[in-house]
Each structure stands twice: as structure tokens, then as C-alpha cells.
Symmetry: C2
Subunit: 447 residues, 2 copies
């Protein structure tokens, strides 16, 4: 049985049915007790609790060879632990599954220690769990690439020929990566001029979300030494949900010839919990067949994706409940995480623990109920799929050509007060491996 | 008289005529004594010495209000000092000019202390002086933009209309920023396919340098709070020389639609010394007139550049001496440093101390001795200027259409064993304010 599945395993900590965080998951994060002056500390999620790993470490419960004397859980980020690599990750997971299991008394029967170690999530403030050295954003969903290409370049060659030869990506901004729950201030910037006028300047009129996932790098590589595709897996610790907020009007005007810049760099939100690749193993599935065949440095023995259902919800300010506007799945990713990583380093570029690389918008394939849209310049038309599988408003509303329903309201792009909630959850045999949520509320632009 | 000029000031430390590092300069770096197990420490350059700021601090010579009790010079990078802002920078400069001056006995007449504080540069190993949070590369020389646009897009619209409305830039890779003297391993990657063939994969065939300068950010800004253009100056500590190594074949193939990625991320070299804006003040000059007038958020009261002559030299492996292949000047920069910084933050993007933003290749304007080149697709021709003012081989050889002389050899692109040496030096009244050199040697690709 694949490590990490163990569907029968149960914890003495009560875990509600449907919880994202049973003992099979144990995602890593960093928290602070609400109102506490203590420095932040690493944790794993179990049910409605954060298990304080500094406290577990202080109690001497990590007695494996790699972790017993390590200060990695007394740091304010996970970076040191990430850099220790899979042997340490496996040791941590084995220890934590053991001490949390229903059969193990060491924590279960020690009320004082339980009180120290298990912090109700309602008493925690979750923080960005990593210090992000560099953040790279890929563009690896073929459905998203096709739709964007159609909208911006037209239907003749919506996807540039290089797309099928390499995982296209660009460097993102690390400083503005923020944790779920942080408000987003609507950015100002220049938008495309109309005719001979000056460019528009002001609050973005086309604020969008992007449904993505981000992989977190464990051990890095030395500058000049590429990571072989078949070793790439050892360098990936886990995944987070990510909202790559985008100002489409700013992006469209600035992007030629050097790519996205201020249209993206104002904020990128990630979920507080990193779900480990070990916990995701039971949800492995075949990755899409690649045609043409990738070049040898991108050809991998183990060409897999993960079956991770994804949802996007929007809660307008004046509505009491959020409404689902899209659902997709990680498994549609054309270029796998390991291909992204091998490509990233093939030129010798060095990765460091805590680096992040994101998938790009995770749109899904054709559904029923086709829509027809016209391309504005060519008058050619394209059939678009049931929007439910599209991962951003640019695609869902075809760059503002139509509105989508959000509860009893409609949207072309995000409005002030909108809260965007991304969620992801794998369905196992009798348990989930979930990511919690990745949320952010749009505040008005500064005056 | 502008602070920092004081052309009559002399140090008791012998400074050779023509030295880049007289008492008027005092650029900041970080060094380690060769072979010493001690941690790295901050320094300023004076003549052929590094003045050890940890030792100066230990001796109690920083007695101003901001620095006397600060641990900023006991750090392994300058980031803490950068974050303290201009008042601390001015206090440090005043103290250092005083204790180094010919009239001041405190250091001059204390042999033991001098020995502790003044380390011959030949005994030092210079390190990357900052921890780079984010590195942004702008594209702000109109001459470079025109030439690249001609080569890649043709002569009709070599420069995209957005270029004259905003400083175009993109995020670079922070992890692979390295200090002068570090070897460059020729990167491998995919190059453009010819016809219906598969893309080329292997060592880059078009390895290039780019002559740039990088500004170093001091105090940052909070996420969501732009920096006003007229306050931008307070956030810039100083400048370094930068070589933005580029693999033109990799870049050309990957760049659509998201911009440069692996064609740049394999290495970016900076000079070890950061020359402060205070030391550069005497070399202020008017920046080019901008037409059209910039939008209000980019319109600045003090629209200035700096008169910094720049040179590029190449030393092929088999030659004993380097040859100059280009000279240019920082003063041609179309979008100023302060405009770059204000634009970067106008969407709320946060900067942090130690962030770097580079100018893009600093090519100069028209010279005499025109060359005529044909654009490969359109058969239109363009007049190009004496290559001496062009800041990269892409322009100097017009993407490999012609060869340039390098001593008794020729080059279209860089060959293995080539050492590229960038240098920059402002000429004052009887003194220089120089940057030293920014060097790197090309090693063959890994097998």
C-alpha cells in the first residue's frame, strides 16, 4: 500500500466527517496563538486543531535520527525543515501519525501535554509558512493557454508552437506572496489606451482571480547543476492552493515584450497549509499524453498528476453566502510538476528551499452546453465549454463579453467587497486529503 | 556644495591617482579575509583597502545617534543598514569620511587599530553584499529597445507604443544573482527549431553579456502603499554594475508570451561594491526629455540621471590582455531610477531592503560611421551606429550577422574561456568615483 494512504488509520483527536484534515493528511503550516507575543511556530493540521510542532519537539516526541536533535521546528518558517529533504519529511510524518493515532497513549493520555500541543484552530492566526526566495509562475494548462490565446491573439494560432515543447513560465514577485485571509487592495495602473488617447490610469477595471496550485521546493540545487527529471520528485515537498490575482487591463497593456509585471505583482495569495506529496500519493493519476513527445530532458519514467478537485466560490459583500462559480481539477495539468522543475533547472538555475512554483490557471477541458464567442478582430467564432471548468473570470466571462451569475448578482470582473474562496479536496476511501481554503477580499483602491 | 563632492578632501590612506576608490567615494561591500573562518563583514573601499566596518564599530568610532548602538555592521549582509534609510547612510558617510581624512588622528595615528580596520584588498574575498529579496530587470534604454525591436520585430514598429508610456520591466531570478569573479557555466536549453524540425537542445550557441547597472533598494514600502515619485529617491541606496548574461537562442524561443525566463536565469553578475547615491550626487545631469510627457504618477520634480561612463572589455582565453568592445554612459537612460521605482510600486507592490532593480542594457545613441543592416523577413534596411555605444553582442553583431574584433580575434557571441569585464567610473574634479569591475569567465557547458 502506498505510504500515506492507510485509510483505516484513525486519530484520538476528533475529526469531523468531511474534514480536510484527518490523520491521513497532516499538512504543514505556521501559526501564532491569537494575541500571543510568542514567535510563530510550525504545526500540522489535525481535525479542528493545529498540532504545535515546537511543543511536540520540546516534549521529546521526535526521536527519529534526523529530527531528535534538529531545531527545524523551532524556526518561524518551514524553510529549514524543507531543506532537510524527504528522509526528514518521512520521519516527521511517521512520528506524527504515530503519536496522533487512536492506539497511541503518549499524547492521548497526557492531558497537560495535549493542552500544550493541540491548539484549537479558532485560537490560531495562520501565517505564511515559508520565506519565499523566488516564485515562478508556469502556464501549464492547455485549456487555459488555448482560451487566453484565443482571446488575445485570435483563433488561428491560439497556442504558440513553443508551448507544446516546454513548460512556459515566468518569474513572479516573491515579496507580495501573502497568506489566505489577507485583504487585497484593488491596484492602480495604466490600462490600454483607446485610439489615440493617453493610456487609462486609475483603479483596475478588470480585476480577476486565477485558480492555481503552487509546489513548494525542498532541497535545492547548486548553481550550474541541473536536476534530472527522474530526481525532480525528491525536490518537491508539497502543494498549496494559490490565487494569482490579476489586473487584466494593466497586464494587457504592459505585457509586450517582457511579460506580466504589475498586472500580477500586487498580491498572490496562498493557502496556509502545505499538503505533502506523501499525503497526495494515493491520489496519483496518469498525466495527459503529450504530443509531440517531450525532448529527452523532459521525458520522465513516472509521468503522473494528482486527482485534486478544485472549486472557486465568490461571496459578494451584500450576500450572506458564497456561490460556486467554477470547478476544475489539478489532473488536467499538461506539464507535470516534475517536468516544470526539471525545465526550470536545465539551464543551471538554482532552486532553494521554500521556492514556490505555480501551475498557472488550472482550467479544465470541454464540458457540455457550448457557448459561441466571436473574436473581436477576426470575426471568427469559437466554441467554449460550460464555464464551470474555467479557472479565471477572463475565461469565464470571455474577457468581459458576458456576465456570470454569482448568487442573485452577476459579474464580469471582481467588484469591491467580493471575497474569493478557492478550495481543493481529494476524496479518499472514507477520508479526505484537503487543502482548506485560500481566501481574499477585494478592498477599494486607495484614493 | 553638494554633499559628497568635497573635491579637496584627502585621506591618510594612500590612494593612487586614477583609483576608483578615493575618500569621495566610499562604496559599501561585504568581504571575508581570505582563508579566515570568521563570518563575512561589511566594509567600504578606500584606495587598495577594505575598511572593516565591524572593526570600526567595535572600536566605538560610530558615535552618531543612529549607528552607535546599532548591530547593522555586525551582519553578514548590508540589508539591515539599507533598511535604516538615508539618515543612517549620511551618518555613516560623515563618520567614515572624518575618520579616514588626512587631518584626523583617531585611526591615522593608531597602528594597532589601523591594522585591525584596514584590510588590503589582496587579502579579501568579496561576497555578494546583499541578500536579494526580489530582482527586477527594466528595459529603459531607448537605443537598446529600438535595436532589439528592429532585430526581432522589424523596422516598422521596433518599439511598442507602451514603451514611451511606462518603464517596461519584468521579474528576474534572485537566486542566481552572483558576485563578480564567479565563473559562468554555459547554459543548456532549447533553441528555436528551423522549419519543421524539433527545437535544438544543447549548450547555448548565442551566449551574450548585457551591460547594465542595478539600483539597490533601501527602506521598502508596505504592501498596497505606493511610493510617490518625489519620495522615490529616499528609497534608493546606491548602484552596482551588472552583467545580465543572456542566452539569446534560449530567450528567443521561450519568450512568447510570458517574457524571458531560462535565457536569463542561469546567472546575473554584480560588482562587489555599491556606490552610494550620495557619492554620485556630483555627477547628476539632466535626464533625457520625455515625449510624450509622462502620466502624473511618473512626472517628477527632479528628473535627473548620472554621468557614469561605462566600458565593456572581453579577454579571450588565448589572449593575455582584454580588449574594449563597447563604451556607453548611464546618462542616456530614458526612464530614470526614480520613475522605475515609482512605477514598480504604483500597483501597491512592496519593495524590501536589498531588492535590486536593473536598468536593462545601457546602449548609447547614434555615433558616426553608420552600418546598414537588412531585416531578415522584410528586406527593409536600417542604419546602425558605430557599435562602440552598444551594450550587448546582440546589438554589436546584429544578432550574429557580423563579427566584431576582440584583440586579434573576432566574436559573434561569447566563446568558452572568454572573460567579460564591465567597468564604470565617474570623473570628478581631480578624483574619480568608480565602481571597480564586474567580471565573469565563461566555462564550457556541463557534459
Amino acid at each position: 500500500m502506498a505510504e500515506g494512504s492507510r485509510p483505516q488509520l484513525r486519530s484520538f483527536v476528533e475529526v469531523a466527517p468531511g474534514s480536510h484534515f484527518p490523520i491521513q493528511n497532516l499538512p504543514f503550516g505556521v501559526f501564532r496563538r491569537r494575541g500571543s507575543p510568542e514567535p510563530p511556530r510550525p504545526a500540522v493540521a489535525i481535525g479542528d486543531f493545529a498540532l504545535d510542532l515546537a511543543a511536540v519537539s520540546d516534549a521529546g516526541l521526535f526521536h527519529g535520527p534526523l529530527l531528535s536533535a534538529s531545531p527545524c521546528f523551532r524556526q518561524e518558517t518551514l524553510n529549514m525543515f524543507l531543506g532537510m529533504g524527504r528522509p526528514a519529511w518521512k520521519e516527521a510524518r511517521a512520528t506524527l501519525q504515530k503519536i496522533l493515532s487512536a492506539d497511541e497513549p503518549v499524547l492521548r493520555d497526557n492531558e497537560a501535554l495535549k493542552k500544550k500541543c493541540l491548539v484549537p484552530m479558532s485560537d490560531t492566526e495562520m501565517l505564511l509558512p515559508i520565506m519565499v526566495g523566488d516564485y515562478t509562475d508556469f502556464f501549464c494548462s492547455v485549456h487555459h493557454a488555448r482560451n487566453c490565446g484565443f482571446i488575445f491573439r485570435g483563433p488561428q494560432t491560439p497556442v504558440n508552437p513553443n508551448w507544446f515543447q516546454l513548460p512556459i513560465g515566468y518569474h513572479g514577485r516573491a515579496s507580495s506572496v501573502i497568506v489566505s485571509g489577507t485583504d487585497i487592495i484593488r491596484p492602480k495602473g495604466q490600462g490600454h489606451p483607446t485610439g489615440d488617447s493617453r493610456p487609462y490610469f486609475g483603479p483596475s477595471k478588470k480585476l480577476d482571480f486565477e485558480l492555481e496550485m503552487a509546489a513548494i521546493v525542498g532541497p535545492g540545487n547548486e548553481l550550474g547543476k541541473p536536476i534530472d527529471i527522474n530526481d525532480a520528485e525528491e525536490h518537491i515537498f508539497g502543494l498549496m492552493i494559490m490565487n494569482d490575482w490579476s489586473a487584466r487591463d494593466i497586464q494587457a497593456w504592459e505585457t509586450i515584450p517582457l511579460g506580466p509585471f504589475l498586472g500580477k505583482s500586487f498580491s498572490t495569495t496562498v493557502s496556509p497549509w502545505i499538503v505533502t506529496m506523501d499525503a497526495l500519493k494515493p491520489f496519483t493519476c496518469e498525466a495527459p499524453k503529450q504530443e509531440p513527445e517531450p525532448l529527452p530532458y523532459l521525458a520522465e519514467k513516472n509521468h503522473v498528476n494528482y486527482d485534486i478537485p478544485l472549486e472557486v466560490w465568490i461571496k459578494p459583500k451584500e450576500q450572506s453566502e458564497p456561490s460556486m462559480v467554477a470547478k476544475s481539477n489539478f489532473k488536467h495539468l499538461y506539464w507535470t510538476l516534475t517536468q516544470q522543475l526539471a525545465h526550470h533547472t536545465v539551464n543551471g538555475c538554482n532552486l532553494r528551499p521554500g521556492d514556490m512554483f505555480a501551475t498557472g490557471t488550472l482550467s479544465g477541458p470541454v464540458w457540455n452546453n457550448h457557448f459561441k464567442y466571436h473574436h473581436k478582430n477576426t470575426n471568427l467564432e469559437v466554441t467554449v465549454h460550460e464555464p464551470e471548468s474555467l479557472g479565471c473570470l477572463l475565461e469565464l466571462t470571455w474577457n468581459g463579453q458576458k456576465e456570470i451569475s454569482v448568487g442573485n448578482s452577476t459579474r464580469k470582473f471582481l467588484e469591491d467587497g467580493d471575497e474569493v474562496i478557492l478550495t481543493a479536496c481529494c476524496k479518499g476511501e472514507g477520508y479526505n486529503v484537503g487543502f482548506g481554503t485560500c481566501t481574499g477580499k477585494v478592498l477599494p483602491a486607495l484614493p
